[in-house]
Point group: C2
Chain length 204, copies 2
DNA sequence: GGTCGTTTGTGAATGTGAGCACAAATAAAA
DNA sequence: TTTTATTTGTGCTCACATTCACAAACGACC
C-alpha cells in the first residue's frame, strides 16, 4: 500500500467499525467479510474496504477480516489501546450526565477530572470524582490529561478554552454553541445540541 | 433564481446563520454583509451567499442582508416561526439534562413531554413536566408532537423508535449508539457521544 | 496440482460540495 | 446624470469523498 491522505470522514467512521468488531469479538467470531459488516452497519462494502485499506492490509482475500486482530489494530490507530483520560469542564446538568454516561468505557475513555468555576460546587462529588476549582486547570499536563469536554455556558466557553489550551490540552469536545477559536494544533469537535434539533422541523 | 437541489450541508448551516441574525437583531443592526457575517462565523463569505441564495434573493447588492427580514425568512424555512414541540424518551441523566437545556428556547423548540418505561419514574416531575408511561407514546399525534429525542439505553432504542414512528413522529434526534432502522420518510440525526469523543485521541 | 467460487485492495469513474471570479445591481458621490 | 465603490448572485472550476469494476489473492474441493 502506498501513502494516501486519510480523509477525516474515514477517521469518523473508525469508532463505528471498532464497535462492530468489538461486538463480533464478544460473539467469538473469527473473521468477518466486508459484505456482512456492511449489512450490520448499513453501509456500502466498498466503503468499508477502502476505509480499512488506508491503514494497510487488514483482510485476506477469499476470507475476510480477522476479528480480533482488526479490532486491536483499530484501537491502536485511534490510540484507544490505552485508557485516555479526559477532563470535564462544567459540572452542570449536562456535565453531570456525561460523567455517568456508560458509553465511554467501552472505548477506553475515562473522565478523570471535573472542574467548575462555581465556588458552591467545588469540593462536592460527582460519582467518585471531586469537583475542582477552575484555577487547577493549569495542572492538567502533569496529570497526563490532554483531552477535555467543554460543557459550560456560552459566555464562559472561550476563556475556559484558552486556559485549557494553555494547560496543554490538544483535543476538545465542545458542547457550547457559537464559534470557539482554537489554534490549528488543537483538534476541536463541536456538538451543538440546539442546532441539531432545529434542523429536524425543516424536513417535516 | 432557478431551481437547484439544496445540499444537506446548507440546511445544517442554517441554524448557525439564524443564531447570528437573531443576535444582530438584538444589537439593532439593520443590515449585515456576507463579509462581516463570515468573520463572525469563521466561514467563507462565498459560502454564506451561496447558501442563502438557494432560498431566493435575500440581500441587496451594495448593501447586504436586511437583518430582521432575513432572520424571519430563515426561521420560516426551518419552520421555527412557530413553537415546535418535541417528545423526550428516556428520563435518565442525559434526558434530564436535555429538559433543562437552555439552548432550545431561542430556536422556538420546546420539550413538551417526557416518557420513560421505568414504573418508578412515572408520575415524577422533571422541571414542570410529568414523566409519562411509554404506553402513552401512541397519543403523540393527537398532541401535535412530530419530533422526538431518543435518550434511552441502546437495547431499547429500536423498539422505542418503532413505537414513535407508529405514533406519527417524523423527526428523530438519536443519542443511542449503533444503527437505528427508520423508514426513508423519517429524518434521523445521530449524536453518538462516545464515538465523537473517541475520535480525539487519534489527533494527539 | 488445477479449477472454481469468494473476497480483498485499488485505480478509475462518478457525484457533490466548496471556492472563485465576475457580471449585475445598488447606493453614494461627483 | 455620470462615475465610483460596494456587495450580491451565480456559472465555473477544483477538490474530495463515494462508488464502481476488476485484477490479484486465497481457500476448498476434486
Amino acid at each position: 500500500m502506498k501513502y494516501r491522505r486519510i480523509p477525516d470522514e474515514t477517521i469518523q467512521r473508525l469508532p463505528m467499525y471498532l464497535r462492530a468488531f468489538s461486538l463480533l469479538e464478544g460473539e467469538k467470531e473469527l473473521t468477518v467479510c466486508s459484505r456482512q459488516l456492511a449489512v450490520r452497519l448499513g453501509l456500502n462494502p466498498h466503503q468499508i474496504r477502502k476505509d480499512l485499506s488506508y491503514f494497510g492490509n487488514f483482510g485476506r482475500p477469499g476470507v475476510g477480516y480477522p476479528v480480533q486482530t482488526t479490532a486491536r489494530r483499530i484501537r491502536h490507530i485511534l490510540k484507544l489501546d490505552k485508557t485516555q483520560k479526559t477532563a470535564l469542564v462544567g459540572a452542570g446538568r449536562l456535565g453531570t450526565a456525561l460523567v455517568a454516561y456508560p458509553g465511554f468505557s467501552s472505548f477506553n475513555l475515562e473522565i478523570a477530572a471535573v472542574f467548575d468555576s462555581d465556588p458552591k460546587k467545588i469540593g462536592k462529588k460527582i460519582g467518585h470524582l471531586t469537583i475542582e476549582s477552575a484555577a487547577r486547570l493549569a495542572g492538567l499536563k502533569k496529570r497526563n490529561i490532554h483531552l477535555a469536554i467543554l460543557a459550560v455556558p456560552a459566555d464562559a466557553a472561550q476563556s475556559v478554552t484558552d486556559k485549557l489550551i494553555k494547560a496543554g490540552v490538544r483535543g476538545l469536545l465542545n458542547f457550547s454553541p457559537g464559534r470557539l477559536k482554537v489554534p490549528a494544533s488543537v483538534k476541536k469537535i463541536d456538538i451543538d445540541l440546539a442546532s441539531q434539533l432545529s434542523i429536524l422541523p425543516y424536513y417535516l
